[in-house]
């Protein structure tokens, strides 16, 4: 199998697509306003005509590249290219002010690579074991897993918990439109285009790419200019020590955050940053241009890339919004993410693992050799780029089913996504709901069908109890912690 994997991952066309993906990803990530999710959603239609390996690896290249690319504008402009680099902007820009932009970009490139490598390693080690375990899952366990994923929406929505929950619930409801998979009853709409459900790739393109296009229209005349020269990219000895001490740890943290459904690279980056600060001997340097801080946040966000793929490939549960789009990409290729993928398409799965390693290496090489070229991307005017993004959204959503109805779905989703962002409603929970909703419903009803209507089926196995405890902690963990804190205070 090893030879087969090497053959398919090292095929010239696959390597070319991957390199193009990484380069495109870095450019997309570097441009403020264009996120990794948007890049993957926008370029997903290009993979429709490709074979599974090339398509998935190109998308992974875009993902890896974009998460890293976000640091370029974060360091040079103090504007994170993607939300994942928000933490990098804090310290990265301080380097630019001191005229050391090249040094910060070098630290960011190497740390991103290390973070990415750690996550690929975890992906390689954890996924097959998790898939083996998931093979033992019955409908009841899959229902509880999906339900757990849905419960997490509440936790990741932060301050606006209600809004995140509402958005997730709306996503689940949208997913119920069309023919019910258990009874074949048509729900909510008899429109022939909706019988098989609302097509979720146009919804994603709308929510993540079109709505961002609208947002950039608001600030279309804002100009970002790079004011400092990029020199001496290779880190010096002291920086190497810092990178090697920090990036592997935050990469690991990022990986585990990536595994949590719904938690993306932005969270990975901030948690990495905060952990590194608490472990640091010089925490007072954080915020003032500390190499440790840049290494921590970049290791953290690129660590998420592999982590997010773990639940997606093994359980069919997306680790973040990009992984949700990947599920769409795999489905289009006729593949169903989940434990069976490891049984039926072993070569593809390991090609993805190996391909991610190559994508990270491309990112490192391009980052170190072509960084000045990528900074030029920052001068592309938004006035031209935004209308082109609109065209790509339109043709991309059309390309999936060659159906103009899908273009309408995309446009409506884009407008709704924009309006929601205006009142600070996070849109990622909708995608989580859209993907996990049907999985939860189908398995819930199948489990009941098998048990003859008895709910005991959800309490029968240790795995069920494991998920039930996780669900309980997810939903009530904060309250329990709060209760104990107030109890201790009273006692004190």
């Amino acid at each position: 199998m090893l030879i087969q994997v090497l053959q398919s991952a090292l095929e010239p066309m696959v390597l070319l697509y991957m390199a193009l993906g990484v380069a495109a990803g870095i450019c997309i990530g570097a441009l403020p306003g264009l996120t990794a999710t948007m890049g993957v959603a926008l370029l997903l239609p290009l993979t429709f005509g490709m074979d599974a390996e090339s398509g998935i690896l190109m998308l992974l290249g875009i993902y890896v590249g974009a998460i890293y690319g976000g640091s370029i504008s974060a360091i040079l402009l103090h504007t994170p290219g993607t939300p994942a680099s928000a933490a990098t902007a804090i310290d990265g820009y301080e380097f630019s002010k001191r005229g050391e932009a090249g040094r910060a970009l070098g630290i960011s490139t190497i740390s991103s690579y290390i973070g990415g490598l750690v996550s690929v390693l975890c992906l390689w080690l954890i996924s097959p074991q998790l898939a083996k375990l998931a093979l033992k899952f019955s409908s009841a366990e899959f229902f509880l897993l999906a339900f757990f994923g849905l419960c997490i929406i509440a936790n990741i929505s932060g301050k606006d918990m209600e809004k995140g929950l509402i958005c997730g619930l709306l996503g689940i409801l949208v997913a119920t439109i069309g023919i019910d998979s258990v009874t074949s009853y048509i729900r909510f709409s008899h429109n022939v285009n909706l019988l098989s459900g609302v097509p979720y790739i146009p919804v994603m393109i709308g929510l993540f790419a079109m709505s961002q296009g609208f947002e950039s229209i608001e600030t279309i005349y804002d100009k970002d200019e790079v004011n400092c020269k990029v020199t001496k990219i290779l880190p010096h000895k002291e920086d190497w020590k810092v990178i090697l001490r920090t990036a592997p740890i935050t990469g690991l943290i990022g990986t585990f955050i990536g595994i949590i459904p719904g938690a993306g690279a932005d969270i990975g980056s901030f948690v990495g940053y905060n952990t590194a600060r608490s472990l640091s001997k010089t925490p007072e340097e954080f915020g003032k241009g500390s190499p440790e801080a840049v290494a921590a946040s970049e290791g953290g966000n690129n660590g998420v890339t592999g982590g997010a793929m773990i639940p997606m490939l093994t359980l069919g549960v997306p680790g973040d919004a990009v992984a949700a789009i990947m599920i769409g990409a795999l489905t289009i290729q006729g593949l169903t993410p989940g434990p069976m993928l490891f049984q039926n398409n072993k070569v593809l799965v390991y090609t993805i693992f190996f391909g991610m390693f190559i994508a990270n290496t491309f990112m490192l090489l391009m980052g170190l050799s072509c960084i000045r070229l990528f900074t030029k991307v920052l001068s592309v005017p938004k006035t031209v780029l935004t209308p082109i993004i609109f065209v790509l959204c339109v043709i991309g959503s059309f390309a999936m089913r060659n159906n103009l109805f899908d273009v309408g779905v995309m446009l409506v989703s884009g407008i709704v996504g924009y309006l929601l962002s205006k009142i600070k409603v996070p849109t990622s929970p909708a995608i989580l709901g859209l993907i996990l909703g049907p999985m939860a419903e189908k398995n819930f009803r199948t489990a009941l069908l098998k048990s003859g209507g008895s709910v005991n089926v959800f309490f029968n196995t240790p795995i069920c109890w494991f998920f039930l405890i996780l669900i309980f902690i997810t939903l009530f963990g904060k309250h329990i912690k709060g209760f104990f804190l107030s109890f201790n205070k009273q006692k004190g």
Partner: protein, 154 residues
């Protein structure tokens, strides 16, 4: 934000209630005789949750302190621009089926680029035509997407 939250939660409450009413009309479990919930139960429960969470948001939003009126005119201009863009895009999507991809896209791109950049007309035209033809060729010939709709089949 306060106003937006209130409107959003009210819309969600109405939507949730509507879905509950619709799903109550769906066949019940007994019809299928398997003991498994009917097609209306799941959306019904979710809609119920939607109503409850929206009500919480509504109450929280009503309790929010009054907002200071915003004076930012640039933001207003930005929102106006977005609204006009949305209308333009809806018209573009409607025209796609009539005029086909190439003509409608060139027109849309030219109009937007010229409006946003206020540059030379021939420059905007050149960018629009070249970009449209490039995207058309990639999707039509490289990816085999049949972008040949509309009156002129291109």
């Amino acid at each position: 934000m306060k106003k937006g939250n209130i409107v959003f939660s009210l819309i969600c409450i109405v939507l949730g209630l509507y879905i509950i009413i619709v799903t109550m009309g769906y066949p019940k479990a007994a019809v299928y005789g398997t003991g498994v919930p009917g097609p209306g139960m799941w959306p019904g429960i979710i809609a119920g949750c939607l109503v409850v969470v929206s009500m919480v948001l509504l109450i929280k939003s009503i309790r929010m302190p009054k907002e200071v009126a915003e004076k930012v005119s640039e933001r207003m201009n930005g929102s106006k621009r977005v609204l006009i863009t949305m209308i333009g895009l809806v018209a573009y999507v409607a025209l796609l089926n009539i005029l086909g991809f190439i003509i409608s896209t060139v027109v849309m791109l030219f109009a937007f680029i010229q409006w946003f950049s206020r540059g030379k007309i021939w420059e905007s035209m050149l960018i629009s035509v070249v970009t449209t033809l490039f995207i058309y060729c990639v999707f039509r010939f490289l990816l085999n997407v049949p972008v040949n709709f509309g009156l002129f089949y291109f």
